[in-house]
Amino acid sequence: MTPVASATPRPAPPSHILVHAGGTVQRYYAQHFQGAIFPLAAGMLLYGWRVGLVVGVVVGTAVVATILWRGIGRRGRDLTLAHAAWTALLLALALPAHLGTFNGIASVHAVLWIAISAGFLLGIVLWVLRGPAGTALHPVVVTYLLLVPFFHDLLVPQNVLQRDHLFIGDVLDAPGTFVPLGTSPWWFTREKIYGHDAVRAETASETLLNYTLGRREMSARGIILLPGLLRDRLPPLEDLVVAGNPGPIGTSSVIFVIVGGLFLLYRGVIDYRIPVLIVASAFIALLILPIPVSLTEIGARWSWLPMHDPSVGRAVAVTFANYEMAASPGLFMALFLATSPTVRPITRRGRTVFAIAVGILTAAMQLYVSVSWGPYAALLLIGLLTPVVDWLFKPRPLA
C-alpha cells in the first residue's frame, strides 16, 4: 500500500522543519506505550518482580525476532521495532506472571519457554500480518489465541501477592490451598496469611464460565441460584475492580486499565467511540442474553433478560454483568487492542458499528465460550470484517 520503507536508519529531521505536524510513527507508538504503563504498574504491584521477567522476556524475544524477520522479503521491510515492542508489551500484559520463573529451565517443560515462544511467535505473526501496515487482524490477539489451545491450563493464573508484599514479593510463594470462595472482606482488608508472599485463589473467570455453561461440580448439592453464585462462589467485586483476584498481568485491575485508557484518550491516540461502545453494548448484551438463573441436579433453567426472572431481579442481573466485565480482559481489549489502527475501521460510522458488534460478540463469547479469552476471540472475528466495514462506510465527500 505504501512506498517501500528503507531498512537503513533514518537521520533525525532538523528541528526547524515546519511543514509537518511533527508526528512520527515512533512517537505514535511511544504514546501508546505511555498508556500501557498504568496496567503494567498494576501488574508489577500485584504480581511482583516476576512481571518484569515475563515482560522483559516477551518484549526482548519479540524485538529479536522482529530484527531477524525484517531482513526477510518485502513484508520484513514493513516491520518497525517500535510497533513490535508495543505489541509485545500488550501480549505480555495478557499473560500470567507465574510464567516468569527459571525453575526447570533446562527442561522443555519449563513455563518460561512459553513466554519465550510467545515473543518469537509474535515476531512471526507480525511478519505474516505486515506489522503496522496490516489490516483486520491484531497480532497480539492472533498470537494469544495460538497459545491458548496448547497451553490453556498453564495460562490460568492462580496467585496474587498479599498487600504487604506488593511489588517485591514472589508471586509463586503461595500456600497449596485456595482461598475459600466467596471470601469477604476483599483482598486489601483481608487477614494476612503468614509465611507466604502470595495467596492462591480460583479466578472469577473460571467460576463464571462454569456457571454460564451450566456445569455443576459433582460435590455440590441442591440448587445454585444466580444470587447465590454472586454471594457465595465469587470473590468480592472489589477484588476484580481494584486488585486481589488472580489474573493476567495487565488485566487484573479494572481501575488501572481504565486509567491507562483515559491517558490514551487524553493524548488523542485512540477514538473514544470504540471502548465506550464496546463496554456499553457488551453490558447491555450481558443483561439480555440467556444465562442459567438456577442450576439443579437435573439441569439448568435458562432465561432471556434474566433481570425479569423472579429469582434474579435487576440488582443481581446488573451485578452479574459487572462481574463478567471485571473478570474478563474485555476492558483491556476495548481500550488497548480494539483501538489499534490495524483492526478498527477508518471512519467514525464504521467504528461505531464495529464497536457495537465487538461488544455484543464479546458478551456472547464470555458467556458461552470463555471468559478469559472470549473478548480476544470476539475481536478477532469482528476484525475480519473491518475491510467490509470500511467499504460500506466510506467517508462522504463534502463536494
Partner: protein
C-alpha cells in the same frame, strides 16, 4: 478543522505553521526598481506575442499589447522601456509569457484611497443589465484573479452572464494569523472592498452580498468593515477561520450549504467568490478608475528555528511583474537557504524566487520555509489522521494507494474529485507519506 488536526497542531505549535500573529498590519509600498516582467495571461499553448519595438517607452498604465476580449489587459505598472518577451512563472506555479520592462529612474507614485461618499454614489449608479460593461472595465484595467482563495474572477463573471448568481462572497480570511494580508488589505481599503463587492452584486443581480471576516478578528477591523458596509446592502458575516476555511469550496458550504467541486467555478453553484485583494482591485478600478498596477503581497519568513519571535511577516504593495527575488531584497529579507512556497505552505506549491514574478491574480501570500528534507516514508499505519483531518471528508490514504496502483476508478471511490489540495493530510501523516503528491500525480496522469 476537525478536532484531531487541532490536537496535532496544538502539540506542534512550536513548529511554526501557526506562528504568533504579527502586529504589523499596514502595507508598505515597494517602488518599481529593477527589471519588471509583466505577465501576459494567456492559456497554453502560448501564441507569438507582438509587442512594440524594444526600447519604446511605455507610460504608466499604458497597454503593452493588444489582447482578446476574454483576457485581462497587460498594462505597464510604471513608466518603462519595453524589452523582449520571455517565459516566467506566476506565483501559482503556472507558466506565462511576460514582457520585460526597464523602469525609468523616477517612476510615478501610486494612487491613493477615496472617501465613502463616492461609494454610495457608485452603488446607486450600477445598472444590473450592464454586467458585460463592468467585465470589460475590469478587464481593461488589468483586474483579474485566479488563485486558490479567489478562483478565475473573469470566468465567474462571464458565467454569471449566462446562469443566475444569487450570492457574492468576499473573503477576508487569511491562511493563518502569521500573515494577515487579506485582513490588512481589507482594513486599509474598506471603501474599495465594499465597492467591489457591491457593484458585482448589483451587476449580477445577486440577492446577497457578503463580506466574510474572521470571527476571532480583533481591534478596529471588524467595526471598520461593518461601518463602511452599512447602508450599502453588503452584509458582514463572521466565520471561524480554521485552515483551510478560505478555500471557496468550504466557504461556500459554510455560508450557503452548497457543494462545489474543486476546480469548478463558484458561479456554477450560483455564487461569485473572491478574496479581499481581488475585491479591492475591482473596487479601486470601479470607484477611482484605478488600473491594477500593483498588488498586495505578503511574505512570511518562517525559517526561524527555536523561537517564533524570529519569524517575520512582511505586508507589501508590489508593482506587477516584479520578480520575487527582488521583492525579497526590497523587503530586507536575508535570502540564505529557503524554499519559496506560493499560498499556504501546506499546499506545497514550490516556486523559484528568481523565475517567479508577482501578478495581480496569482498567489499573494508567499512563505519562506527552511529547506525541507525528504524523509523516507514509513508504511501507512492506518491511523486515519488524514481521514479525520480532511476538511472535505475524503480518504487520502486510499487515494495514495490508488495512485500507486494507477487506478483512477479506485481513486474516485475514495473521493479524489473532492480534494481541495489543502495539504492537511500530508501535514498530519506520522508516516510522512506523500498524500498530496499522490493526489496531484493521479490528477496529472488522468
Amino acid at each position: 478543522m476537525p478536532a484531531v488536526s487541532r490536537a496535532i497542531l496544538a502539540t506542534s505549535a512550536d513548529r511554526g505553521y501557526y506562528a504568533r500573529p504579527v502586529k504589523e498590519s499596514r502595507l508598505r509600498d515597494i517602488p518599481a526598481r529593477g527589471t519588471l516582467k509583466v505577465p501576459v495571461i494567456l492559456p497554453p499553448p502560448f501564441p507569438a506575442i507582438e509587442t512594440k519595438p524594444p526600447g519604446t517607452l511605455a507610460r504608466r498604465a499604458e497597454p503593452l499589447i493588444d489582447v482578446s476580449p476574454s483576457h485581462p489587459a497587460v498594462l505597464a505598472p510604471t513608466e518603462a522601456s519595453i524589452g523582449p518577451v520571455s517565459l516566467v512563472h506566476l506565483t501559482t506555479g503556472r507558466e506565462s509569457p511576460a514582457i520585460t520592462l526597464e523602469p525609468v529612474p523616477e517612476p510615478a507614485p501610486l494612487a491613493e484611497t477615496s472617501s465613502e461618499a463616492d461609494l454610495h454614489g457608485l452603488l446607486n449608479e450600477v445598472a444590473p443589465a450592464r454586467l458585460s460593461h463592468y467585465i470589460d472595465v475590469l478587464r481593461l484595467a488589468g483586474v483579474w484573479a485566479d488563485r486558490w482563495t479567489s478562483p478565475d474572477l473573469h470566468g465567474q463573471l462571464q458565467q454569471a452572464m449566462k446562469r443566475p448568481v444569487d450570492t457574492v462572497i468576499c473573503s477576508t480570511l487569511d491562511f493563518d494569523a502569521a500573515l494577515p494580508l487579506q485582513q490588512a488589505v481589507a482594513r486599509e481599503n474598506a471603501a474599495e472592498l465594499v465597492a467591489g463587492v457591491g457593484v458585482l452584486a448589483r451587476a449580477t443581480k445577486a440577492k446577497r452580498a457578503i463580506v466574510v471576516i474572521d470571527a476571532a478578528a480583533g481591534g478596529s477591523f471588524p467595526r471598520r468593515i461593518e461601518r463602511t458596509a452599512s447602508k450599502t446592502g453588503v452584509r458582514v458575516v463572521r466565520v471561524l477561520n480554521d485552515y483551510p476555511q478560505p478555500n471557496p469550496t468550504l466557504l461556500l458550504y459554510v455560508l450557503t450549504k452548497r457543494q462545489l467541486r474543486p476546480g469548478r467555478l463558484p458561479s456554477e453553484a450560483g455564487a461569485i467568490v473572491l478574496d479581499a485583494a481581488a475585491a479591492v482591485a475591482a473596487g479601486g478600478c470601479l470607484l477611482h478608475g484605478e488600473p491594477a498596477l500593483a498588488t498586495p503581497v505578503g511574505i512570511a519568513d518562517m525559517r526561524g528555528t527555536a523561537t517564533p519571535k524570529k519569524r517575520r511577516a512582511h505586508l507589501l504593495r508590489v508593482p506587477i511583474g516584479m520578480p520575487v527575488i527582488d521583492v525579497l531584497q526590497e523587503a530586507g529579507l536575508n535570502p540564505g537557504e529557503f524554499e519559496l512556497r506560493g499560498g499556504s505552505p501546506l499546499r506545497d506549491v514550490r516556486l523559484s524566487a528568481e523565475d517567479c514574478v508577482v501578478s495581480t491574480g496569482g498567489e499573494i501570500a508567499l512563505y519562506l520555509v527552511a529547506p525541507q528534507p525528504q524523509p523516507n516514508p514509513d508504511p501507512c499505519i492506518r491511523c486515519a489522521w488524514c481521514v479525520s483531518g480532511c476538511p472535505v471528508h475524503i480518504n487520502p490514504a486510499g487515494i495514495l494507494q490508488a495512485a500507486q496502483m494507477q487506478d483512477p476508478e479506485a481513486a474516485d471511490g475514495y473521493g479524489i474529485e473532492s480534494c481541495i489540495e489543502c495539504g492537511i493530510c500530508t501535514y498530519v501523516c506520522p508516516s510522512n507519506l506523500p498524500l498530496l503528491g499522490g493526489v496531484r500525480a493521479l490528477r496529472a496522469a488522468h
